[in-house]
C-alpha cells in the first residue's frame, strides 16, 4: 500500500508539537487537546452556518436564514469559553516553543471562526432582505464565489487539523481568485443598479453579501497563515516574497 505515510507523518508532526514529558506538561497537553477539540466542534458549526447562509442567499430561503442568525449567539458563547481556557493555560503553564505556538494559533483560529460566523449572519440578514425582491437577479457569479470561499474555510481547517502546510499555502493562493470574483460581482451589481433604479436597494444587499463572502475567504487565509506559523514557526503574513507562494503563483 503506498499509503503516503500519512499517519506516520501526522504522528511525527504531533510529536514535534508535544514533546514534553513532565507531569505539568502532561496536564498542559491534556488541556490543549481539550481546547483543540472544542475549536474543531466550533469549526464544524461555523462551516454549517456558512453553508446555510449561502443556501439562504441563493435560494431565497427565509427559514434557513433565521436558523443561521439564531445560531450566532451559541457560537459567541463558545468562542468566549475557548478563549478563557486558553488564557488560563497561558497563565498556569506558561508554555514555550511549540506549545506556545500551538496555543496562540488556537486563540487566533478561535477568533477567526467567530468572525466568520458573524459574517455568515450578515449574509443571512442580506438573504432575508433580498427575499422581498424576487425579481432581482442575484448574480450567478456569487454562487461560484461562495462555493470557493466555503471550500477555502474547509481546507484551511483541514490544514489546521492535519498540520498540512502544503494545503495551507494552497488556501492562501486561492484568495486571489475570490478577490477577482468579488470585483466582477460588484461590476455586475453596479450595472444592474444603472439599468433599473428600483434595483438599487437589492443591489446594495448583494454588494454587501459579496463583500462578506470575500471577508470569509480572508479569514480562511488567516487560518492558513496561522497553521504555517504553528508548524514551521514562520510568520508568512504580509510576506509577498515567500518562495512557496511565488512558486504557486507562477
Amino acid at each position: 500500500m503506498p499509503k503516503h505515510n500519512c499517519e506516520q507523518e501526522y504522528a511525527e508532526r504531533r510529536a514535534l508539537l508535544s514533546s514534553k514529558e513532565s507531569r505539568l506538561a502532561r496536564h498542559l497537553n491534556h488541556d490543549l487537546e481539550e481546547a483543540y477539540h472544542r475549536i474543531l466542534t466550533l469549526s464544524g458549526q461555523v462551516e454549517e452556518m456558512i453553508d446555510k447562509a449561502l443556501r439562504a442567499l441563493m435560494a431565497r430561503q427565509h427559514p434557513v436564514a433565521s436558523e443561521v442568525i439564531a445560531q450566532d449567539e451559541e457560537i459567541d458563547r463558545q468562542e468566549v469559553r475557548i478563549e478563557e481556557e486558553c488564557l488560563k493555560m497561558l497563565a498556569l503553564h506558561q508554555p514555550v516553543a511549540a506549545d506556545l505556538r500551538r496555543l496562540t494559533t488556537m486563540m487566533k483560529v478561535n477568533n477567526d471562526l467567530e468572525r466568520i460566523a458573524d459574517l455568515a449572519c450578515n449574509i443571512a440578514e442580506r438573504a432575508t432582505d433580498l427575499i422581498e425582491y424576487p425579481s432581482f437577479p442575484i448574480p450567478e457569479m456569487l454562487r461560484d464565489m461562495a462555493a470557493d470561499a466555503n471550500a477555502m474555510v474547509r481546507e484551511g481547517l483541514d490544514a489546521f487539523v492535519n498540520l498540512d502546510v502544503e494545503l495551507a499555502y494552497q488556501v492562501i493562493h486561492k484568495d486571489d481568485s475570490v478577490d477577482a470574483m468579488n470585483v466582477r460581482v460588484i461590476n455586475e451589481v453596479t450595472k444592474l443598479m444603472k439599468e433599473n433604479a428600483d434595483w438599487v436597494e437589492p443591489a446594495l444587499y448583494s454588494f454587501s453579501a459579496s463583500r462578506a463572502i470575500e471577508q470569509i475567504a480572508d479569514h480562511a487565509v488567516n487560518v492558513a497563515e496561522d497553521v504555517i506559523y504553528m508548524v514551521n514557526g514562520v510568520i508568512v503574513r504580509h510576506c509577498h516574497n515567500d518562495p512557496k507562494l511565488r512558486s504557486l503563483e507562477s
Binding site: 477539540h37 466542534t41 464544524g44 458549526q45
Partner: protein, 558 residues
C-alpha cells in the same frame, strides 16, 4: 559499558596478583643476578691476587686497593685451618638496608709472608636497588595491562558487528545468568523434550497468527464491499474502524484514521452531536442530512457499541438515500402534475355545466357554445387518460406488435393531421421523404411517435413559422427528424422535457392543449423499439427532435 567494567575488574585482579606473588619472583631473579655478577668479579679478583708479588703485605700494596675499588669488592686474606675446597656464597645482613655476599677462595700459590691460605671476598649490596627494580617492573606490568585493556576495548567497539560474531562465545560467557540460561536451547539436543515442546509452541503460535490474519482479511473484505458506510468509535471518541464506503460517502481521504479523534476527521455538527449523545446516554440515534459538495442525502444510524469491561463506544452506519429521495420526489411530482392536469378540464366542464344550469340553457347560441366546450374538455380528459394508459402499456412492454410495413404510408395520416393543424394556425409543413421505406417494427408505435412530435412542433410554432419533416432509411436504422422554428427551450428545460407532465413554461400560462405526456411516451416507445430520441433547442429560435429506430428488431439483426 558492561564490558568496560569487566575489563577494569580483570585489571585490578591481575594487579593484586602481581603485587602479592610478583615480589618473591623478582627477589629470586635479583639474587641470582647478583650472585652471577659476584662470581664473575670474584674470578677476576682471584686472578689478580695470584698475579701479585706478595713481597710485602697485600694491604700495603697500591694494586690491592685499586683492585678492590675497580671490582667493588672487599678482599681480605684470612688464615683458615683448612683451605676451602669449593666456592660457597653466603648472604648475611649488613646494616638496616643492606646485604653482604661473602665467599672464601683458596689460593693455589700462597705467599708465606702473609700467613694466610685463603682470601675472603665480600660485596655489600643496598636493598634499595631491589626496591627500584621491583617498582619499575610493577609500573611496567600495570602499563602493559592498561595498554592491553585499552586495545581490547577499542578493537571490540571499533568494529563491533564483525568482532561480535568472533567474540560471541566470550560475550555470552560474560553475560548475566539469566541470559546464559536463554542460550540453553542452542546446546540442547534437537530431540530433547524441551526442544520438542518449543517446536509445538512455535507451531501453535504460527497457526493462531495465520487464522487471525485470515479472519482479519475476511472482515476487511466484507466491510470493504458493503454499500453502507461503517464507522466504529471507542469510549474516548477515537476511530476504531472505518470502511471504504464510509470514506466515499463522507468524502474523506483514503486513510483508516485508526485511533484518531472523530472530531478531527468529521466536523459535521449533526454527527458530532450524535456521538456525544450515544456516549453519554447510550441510546439509538438517527439523522438524515444533506452532505458533501455535490449534496447526497444520507441516513445515519448510530447505536452504542459494547467494548467490554463496562466501556461503551459508538457504531455508525451510513446509507446513501439520494436515489430513493429522487424517486420519491419524482413520484410526488407525478401525482401533483397528474392531479393538476386532470383537475383543469374537470373544473372547466363543471363551470360550463353550472352556467348552463343557472339559465344559459335558455339561450340556444350560448348553450351550444358551452356544450361544445364541455365536449372539447372531455376530449382533452380522454386524451390524458389514453396517454397515461398508453405510457403504462409501453412501460410494461405489452403494446408492441412487430410487423413489416412502409414507413411513409404509416406516417402519412400523421403528416396530414399536421397539415390540417398547420393550415388552421398558419404554419408551413415541409416533408422530405423517399417514395417508400420498409422497416420491421411496431407500426402503431411509429405513428404515435410521429404524431406526438409533429403535433408538438405545430403547437409550439407561431403563425408564419415552419415545420420540416425529414425521413431517411439508412442501412441499419430509420431516422425521423422533426425541426420547427418555434419558441424553443432553455438548456435547463431541455434535460427534463422527457419527464411526465414536465412543461418548459412553468406557470402553465400558455394553454397549448397538450397533455404533458407526449414526449414521455415518445421516449419510452423509442426505447422499447430499441432506438433513441435526441432533442436540441435554442430559446426563441426553434427545436429539433431526431428519432432513430432500428430497421429490424434487435433480436433479428443478422
Amino acid at each position: 559499558m558492561k564490558l568496560f567494567i569487566q575489563l577494569v575488574a580483570l585489571w585490578i585482579v591481575l594487579a593484586l596478583g602481581v603485587g602479592m606473588f610478583g615480589g618473591q619472583v623478582v627477589e629470586d631473579i635479583w639474587r641470582r643476578e647478583m650472585e652471577a655478577s659476584f662470581r664473575r668479579d670474584m674470578v677476576a679478583a682471584e686472578a689478580m691476587v695470584e698475579s701479585l708479588s706478595w713481597s710485602k703485605p697485600p694491604e700495603a700494596q697500591p694494586e690491592w686497593r685499586k683492585m678492590e675499588h675497580e671490582l667493588g669488592l672487599g678482599i681480605i686474606p684470612v688464615q683458615r685451618s683448612k683451605a676451602p675446597e669449593s666456592m660457597e656464597l653466603i648472604w648475611t645482613q649488613a646494616g638496616q638496608e643492606g646485604m653482604r655476599l661473602t665467599a672464601d677462595v683458596a689460593l693455589s700459590e700462597f705467599p708465606e709472608t702473609t700467613q694466610a691460605n685463603t682470601i675472603r671476598i665480600t660485596r655489600d649490596v643496598q636493598l634499595s636497588s631491589l626496591d627500584d627494580l621491583w617498582w619499575s617492573l610493577w609500573a611496567l606490568l600495570n602499563l602493559a595491562a592498561l595498554a592491553i585493556g585499552g586495545l581490547t576495548f577499542f578493537a571490540v567497539w571499533h568494529d563491533l558487528g564483525r568482532k561480535k560474531r568472533l567474540l560471541r562465545p566470550w560475550f555470552q560467557a560474560l553475560d548475566s545468568a539469566e541470559e546464559r540460561e536463554s542460550l540453553l536451547p542452542a546446546v540442547e539436543p534437537q530431540d530433547s523434550d524441551f526442544c520438542i515442546q518449543m517446536d509445538a509452541v512455535a507451531d501453535l503460535v504460527n497457526r493462531i497468527y495465520a487464522s487471525l490474519k485470515n479472519a482479519n482479511e475476511r472482515s476487511d473484505l466484507v466491510l470493504g464491499n458493503l454499500r453502507e458506510g461503517v464507522l466504529a468509535v471507542d469510549d474516548h471518541s477515537r476511530v476504531l474502524l472505518s470502511n471504504k464506503s464510509l470514506r466515499r460517502l463522507l468524502e474523506l481521504p483514503n486513510d483508516n484514521f485508526l485511533y484518531r479523534p472523530l472530531v478531527e476527521i468529521i466536523r459535521t455538527p449533526a454527527i458530532v452531536n450524535m456521538l456525544r449523545k450515544i456516549l453519554s446516554e447510550e441510546v439509538l440515534t438517527e439523522e438524515q442530512l444533506e452532505y458533501g459538495v455535490e449534496p447526497r442525502h444520507l441516513r445515519i444510524l448510530g447505536r452504542p457499541l459494547p467494548l467490554g469491561e463496562g466501556k461503551s463506544g459508538a457504531l455508525f452506519t451510513v446509507r446513501d438515500e439520494t436515489l430513493i429521495k429522487r424517486v420519491d420526489m419524482i413520484k410526488k411530482d407525478f401525482v401533483s402534475n397528474a392531479s393538476h392536469e386532470l383537475k383543469t378540464p374537470l373544473a372547466a366542464i363543471r363551470a360550463y355545466a353550472e352556467t348552463l344550469q343557472m339559465g344559459a340553457l335558455e339561450d340556444p347560441d350560448a348553450a351550444e357554445s358551452f356544450v361544445n366546450n364541455i365536449i372539447s374538455q372531455a376530449d382533452r380528459l380522454d386524451g390524458l387518460v389514453q396517454g397515461m394508459l398508453q405510457l403504462s402499456r409501453v412501460e410494461v412492454g405489452s403494446a408492441l406488435n412487430y410487423q413489416r410495413f412502409d414507413v411513409i404510408a404509416a406516417i402519412e395520416p400523421c403528416i396530414n393531421a399536421a397539415y390540417a393543424l398547420g393550415r388552421a394556425k398558419g404554419v408551413t409543413i415541409e416533408v422530405n421523404a423517399p417514395e417508400a421505406a420498409k422497416i420491421h417494427s411496431d407500426r402503431d408505435g411509429l405513428q404515435t411517435i410521429a404524431s406526438n412530435l409533429l403535433s408538438n412542433a405545430v403547437r409550439y410554432t407561431e403563425a408564419g413559422g415552419k415545420v420540416a419533416v425529414h425521413v431517411e432509411r439508412q442501412s441499419t436504422q430509420l431516422v425521423l427528424e422533426v425541426r420547427d422554428s418555434g419558441i424553443g427551450m432553455a438548456e435547463e428545460d431541455l434535460a427534463r422535457i422527457f419527464e411526465r407532465f414536465y412543461r418548459a413554461e412553468k406557470d402553465r400560462s400558455i394553454d397549448t392543449g397538450g397533455t404533458g405526456l407526449g414526449l414521455a411516451i415518445v421516449k419510452h416507445l423509442t426505447g422499447a423499439l430499441g432506438g433513441s430520441v435526441a432533442a436540441s433547442s435554442e430559446l426563441g429560435k426553434g427545436s429539433c427532435f431526431v428519432v432513430e429506430l432500428p430497421n429490424e428488431p434487435l433480436g433479428n439483426v443478422e
